[in-house]
């Protein structure tokens, strides 16, 4: 079907699978299938129960990173932010269930402040996102060490029960992740502000021309991201028995990897939220598979690097142009 006059029924909105969605579903299916065939322990109920909570946290954090990447930025303060959330919840509450709620609220306050700081630096002062969030990350770690002194503490039994428990056999954290995903998707894809938000990411100059406040939307990306990191951190504080003060460090690379694999461009623009969450699930399950195969941490990391590179190349390399080029070469050589 070439371009043609639009029949009116075509105006009806259609849900179409993005390239990222197809890629991620295939990748996830492949990893599960490979697990079934070669390492059944990786897809055993016990292994899944152990891995899924971490996949849930990574998915939530990756959603936050997606918001920032949609605005052409990158958030390096994700490490400090998660570490801070974990430390506030576990240290302030320190085994006392009654103090859990205030501790969680305090962590939220810290997250919003960090997001506002990033927002001001990037949107108002037009600082480079890498530099701004690098600086904020150091400040967040200063607070982390100020509170914890670097020593881990246990969280409360209630938190462990909520975050680590299961409902109908499924880890609670998965329910949280699904709810978060639905809420974020609704806000970004269905609300008026979400529409504008996506437009600012796609082309800030054009957004300015249609009278959209570009700076406010860019700043909101950083605040929203911090709130999502906070959700992830609170869960993490319950999932891990004795969280360290540097619990967030692993999320820096893996969150960016999940966003990129999901298909959101590092140059900004349309955000692929479900895809980011699925990519988080994929990365976690890939790790499980490689572990179950008895491979070392090294092989596990290398597998991630390859998956990441292949994923990016799927989006960046103009495959159709290459195919056309090869075809032309072939016909030319056939002629001569």
């Amino acid at each position: 079907m070439a371009e043609e006059q639009l029949p009116l029924r075509a105006i009806r909105a259609r849900v179409r699978a993005s390239r990222g969605l197809t890629t991620m579903i295939i990748a996830l299916a492949a990893v599960l299938l490979a697990g079934l065939l070669f390492a059944p322990s990786s897809v055993s109920w016990g292994a899944l129960q152990g891995a899924l909570p971490f996949a849930a946290v990574l998915a939530i954090v990756a959603l936050g990173q997606t918001l920032v990447v949609m605005q052409g930025g990158i958030d390096l303060s994700v490490a400090g932010a998660i570490s801070l959330g974990v430390v506030i919840v576990s240290h302030e509450a320190y085994g006392d269930n009654a103090r859990l709620l205030p501790a969680i609220a305090l962590a939220l306050l810290a997250a919003v402040l960090a997001g506002v700081l990033n927002g001001i630096l990037v949107a108002l002062l037009r600082m480079n996102a890498i530099v701004a969030t690098l600086g904020t990350n150091a400040l967040l770690y200063a607070v982390v060490l100020g509170i914890s002194g670097g020593t881990p503490r246990q969280t409360t039994s209630l938190m462990a029960h909520i975050a680590g428990g299961t409902l109908l056999g499924v880890p609670n954290s998965i329910y949280v992740a699904v709810v978060v995903l639905v809420v974020v998707t609704l806000i970004v894809k269905r609300t008026v502000s979400g529409r504008r938000f996506e437009a600012v990411g796609a082309n800030p100059r054009a957004a300015r021309i249609v009278n959209i406040n570009v700076q406010r939307h860019v700043a909101m990306a950083y605040v929203g991201a911090q709130v999502l990191y906070w959700v992830g951190a609170v869960l993490l504080a319950g999932i891990i028995n004795k969280p360290s003060a540097f619990q967030g460090d692993t999320y820096l690379l893996s969150s960016v990897a999940a966003v990129v694999l999901g298909g959101t461009s590092l140059l900004g623009g349309r955000g692929y939220l479900v895809e980011s969450a699925l990519a988080a699930l994929f990365l976690t399950q890939l790790e499980q598979l490689v572990l179950a195969l008895g491979a070392s941490y090294a092989v596990q990391t290398l597998t991630q690097a390859v998956a990441f590179a292949v994923g990016v190349a799927l989006y960046t390399i103009p495959w159709s142009e290459l195919r056309a080029l090869v075809r032309r070469r072939r016909t030319r050589s056939a002629e001569t």
Binding site: M1, E3, E4, Q5, L6, A10, I11, A13, L76, L121, L125, R126, M127, N128, I130, V131, A132, L134, G135, T136, N137, A138, L140, Y141, A142, L145, G146, R190, T191, V192, S193, A199, A202, N203, R205, A206, A207, R208, I209, V210, N211, I212, L253, S265, L266, L267, S296, A298, V299, T301, L302, T303, A305, V306, F308, A309, V312, A313, T316, I317
Partner: protein, 830 residues
């Protein structure tokens, strides 16, 4: 055409024969033949879009003709490239100068004219000499980005005249120039012609043709209209050749003649001034379409932007009786931008999202976008404007130019504006869509929307507008109404304008940059700030604890600095090109792991050499992979180096899952060797930094490196192989990281794959502190070294001040943020 030049006494230097050029089905030039003779000034006349610039680009080797031959000095040139053209002695001065904004004037001259600066004369005086030829008043040390348009154009002219070309092509050289500079340019052109240079002079102004040219060629619609001796043809004859092109589009009928004079004034603009325009006043009645016509770049775009409240302006704008601020105008007006790709469409978003974006307020219910109302809005607007697309959910970039433009118009319609301001409304639009757009504009005007249009197409203005304001050099020079709105009147009025740009005020501080100002805007201000901070911090710590400066601590400080300093230098080389290398940390750790297999106690000399060779291979390979992914596979620098980051970590652990392989003391000893309290490796770092700094400033390679980061397109136009430059920067950067890894190897004494990772973030911190811009183009190796020094000193001093780790992080965070904020604010004012 009996008036055609018949004197063929002199053989042509350049002959363009039967040149045809098509761009994806659109013919820009068809069968044009042109002879350029030495000693002759040959003017090229024609309207906007007549094909003049295409012809120039073909003569300069920038474009290849689709058909036809190029003969130079009687010999056919089969495939002309820019570097080949300049080797033949062809110099082109483009409308948009190929300059590198982050480099100084002198450096720009040196990059463009390497041969001229090789003779050992002092570059400063040489540059001043070249600049004085064209009468440029800027200082050789001024940063080009800080200069105004006229001054930049003079530099471009200086470059062309400096090479004493055999053929000089000037594309509208006087457009941004004031009267004095124009006079001087004319004198230079005459002088060059007298020396025997062939000159092609493109212009819109008849007066200039009379003043300078011997021969004139007129182009229209990409076709040759004839070549004449200037003194044998009248202005009227020339004008009749320029205008009157065929126009396939049909225009809607104009507004019926205004019966009574009392038609209400719906828009009045008084004394509107802003950048590139001044004192514009006019009023328009409801139902009218007002057009702005001018040669491109005379301020019409800026006037439209000011009207729509998007561009900066002073003055009064009253819409429907309401005096409107710029903010209010943004709410009332819809603006159709001239560059659709840059400002019109939201690539990646669907047609539906693109169209309804400005009307979201109307189709929401309780904060959510109502699908039903959105559909209705789409139906409503699509019944007026038929957008051809596979579906409204197709991405906007999948549509043809005309349909994209219709989508932009549809968005404006849905916003229900009181005023529609359109800059080049049919640029890159096919004939069918043009007619639809004209129809729509007329319909809107009939419905009472105020429609203001600017176009560089006089025929379009004639067909569409009721009132036309002719703009030249930022002012309204003529107003045409009713029957006077004819293409001929419009073009005559614009071409006859002889006024010059009001440069006295616009030139600003082109020449007035003081020494202090140049320093503050320069790359070395951070160096002094950092030095001061390092000394002050050192003094404070020493005051509290004298052991801070004891040899033992000094040595360990400088060792740490050596490791971070080398790695930061590597990061600097990459950042200079506008990239970033996240893999530096893992790479530093990885080379230590590689070394730990060969440099251990009891190994032979051969294996030690092999170890070092493999370390070099690892580093160079990493650089190649990074550069290859970025230039070859189009990865963003962050994505590419993030991939190698993870891979290097994996490889490190693959080789050594736990720390092992103790480095022989015969290896670590020499690396740790000190002269007094100062480690030798630090001295090496210091010397290397100074050498690299001098190369960065003084060598063409260094300038090219900064040029790539500053403006990659201009650098390419100057004949630099930008891809190879970027890849080399990553390889060079990785080799510097290798040196940092060697220092780390001595410090750790053991292969440990978990070490090194932290250097990624601290190297970026050091480089940012040193004032290198993450946007590329500017920075210093010395600054990065000092940034590294400050970080290492801070970390060390907290120990002596008895401060906890909290303070280490706090200081680091604050220092980075404050430095970045200060630098970015200081430079934005430029």
């Amino acid at each position: 055409m009996s008036d055609e030049v018949t004197t063929v006494a002199v053989e042509p230097l350049l002959r363009l024969e039967g040149i045809t050029k098509t761009f994806g089905g659109v013919t820009a030039l068809s069968d044009v033949t042109l002879d350029i003779r030495p000693g002759e000034v040959h003017a090229l006349l024609g309207e906007n879009g007549a094909g003049k610039s295409t012809l120039v680009n073909i003569a300069g080797g920038i474009l290849q003709p689709s058909m036809g031959r190029i003969l130079y000095d009687g010999k056919e040139v089969p495939h002309l490239t820019p570097s080949h053209a300049s080797a033949l002695g062809i110099a082109v001065v483009h409308q948009h100068p190929a300059l590198l904004p982050d480099l100084t004037v002198e450096e720009n001259l040196r990059v463009a004219l390497p041969a001229l600066f090789d003779d050992g004369t002092r570059t400063g005086s040489k540059a001043r000499e070249l600049l004085s030829v064209v009468g440029a008043t800027c200082h050789p040390k001024d940063r080009v980005g800080a200069l105004d348009l006229a001054e930049r154009h003079l530099i471009e002219l200086a470059k062309a005249f400096a090479v004493k070309p055999a053929l000089l092509i000037l594309d509208e050289p006087t457009a941004p120039l004031g009267p004095d500079a124009t006079e001087r340019l004319f004198a230079l052109v005459r002088e060059a012609a007298a020396r025997g240079t062939a000159v092609v002079y493109i212009t819109h102004r008849l007066a200039e043709v009379r003043e300078i040219a011997d021969v004139v060629t007129v182009l229209r619609d990409g076709r040759l209209r004839g070549t004449f001796a200037v003194d044998r043809i009248t202005d009227a004859q020339l004008l009749s050749l320029i205008v009157g092109r065929d126009f396939a589009s049909t225009f809607p009928p104009k507004r019926a003649a205004i019966a009574d004079e009392s038609t209400e004034t719906a828009l009045s603009v008084e004394a509107l001034s802003g950048p590139r325009f001044s004192n514009v006043s006019f009023s328009m009645a409801r139902g009218e379409i007002v057009g702005l016509f001018g040669i491109v770049g005379n301020g019409q775009s800026e006037i439209l932007r000011a009207l729509a409240g998007i561009g900066p302006s002073r003055g009064t704008v009253v819409i429907n009786g309401e005096r409107c601020s710029a903010r209010r105008r943004r709410q009332l007006c819809a603006f159709i931008p001239p560059d659709r790709k840059a400002e019109g469409v939201f690539n990646g978003l669907s047609v539906r999202e693109n169209v309804t974006l400005a009307a979201l307020g109307r189709i929401e219910s309780r904060g959510l976008v109502s699908r039903r109302q959105e559909r209705e809005a789409l139906l409503e607007v699509m019944s007026v404007l038929a957008i051809r697309a596979p579906s409204t959910d197709a991405p906007i970039e999948a549509l043809s130019g005309g349909n994209q433009q219709k989508a932009v118009f549809a968005r404006a319609l849905l916003a229900k504006p009181a005023m529609l301001v359109a800059d080049e409304p049919t640029q890159g639009v096919d004939v069918g869509a043009r007619a639809e757009i004209y129809q729509l504009l007329r319909q809107l005007a009939d419905e009472g929307v105020l429609v203001v249009v600017a176009s560089s197409d006089a025929k379009e203005i004639e067909g569409l507008c009721d009132t036309v304001m002719v703009i030249s050099r930022g002012s309204v020079i003529d107003v045409l109404r009713g029957d006077d709105v004819t293409e001929e009147r419009i073009v005559t009025s614009a071409l006859r304008a002889t006024g010059h740009a009001a440069t006295s005020s616009a030139r600003g501080r082109a020449s007035g940059a003081t020494r202090l100002r140049r320093f503050l805007e320069g790359d070395y201000a951070p160096v002094f700030v950092l030095s001061l901070a390092i000394v002050v911090l050192g003094a404070v710590v020493f005051g509290r604890n004298h052991r801070f400066l004891e040899p033992f601590n000094l040595t360990s400080l400088l060792m740490s600095l050596a490791a971070l300093g080398f790695i930061a230098a590597g990061q600097t080389a990459v950042l200079m090109t506008g990239g970033i290398d996240l893999s530096v940390g893992p790479l530093a750790g990885f080379v230590v792991v590689v070394g730990s297999f060969f440099l251990t106690e009891g190994f032979s000399v051969g294996s030690v050499i092999l170890g070092f060779v493999l370390m070099v291979v690892a580093a160079a390979g990493t650089g190649l992979v990074n550069g290859g992914l970025i230039r070859g596979a189009r990865f963003t620098p962050v994505a590419a180096t993030l991939g190698t980051y993870i891979a290097l970590q994996g490889l490190g652990f693959l080789l050594r899952s736990s720390p092992g392989g103790y480095i022989a003391s015969s290896i670590t000893g020499p690396i740790k060797h000190t002269v007094g309290a100062v480690p030798v490796v630090f001295i090496v770092l210091l010397v290397l930094t100074i050498v690299m700094e001098l190369a960065l400033r003084g060598s063409r390679l260094g300038m090219v490196l900064r040029g790539v980061g500053s403006d990659i397109e201009s650098t390419r136009r100057l004949g630099v192989r930008v891809g190879a430059t970027v890849v080399s920067a990553y390889v060079f950067g990785s080799l510097l990281v290798l040196l940092g890894g060697v220092v780390l190897l001595a410090q750790l004494g053991v292969g440990d794959a978990s070490q090194g990772v932290g250097y990624t973030l601290s190297s970026i911190s050091a480089v940012v502190l040193g004032g290198t811009s993450l946007l590329g183009g500017r920075g210093t190796f010395v600054g990065s070294l000092l940034g590294a020094a400050l970080i290492v000193e801070m970390l060390n001093s907290t120990v002596f001040l008895n401060l906890s780790q909290t303070w280490q992080y706090l200081f680091q965070g604050l220092v980075i943020l404050v430095a970045a904020a200060v630098y970015s604010q200081a430079r934005r004012r430029v």
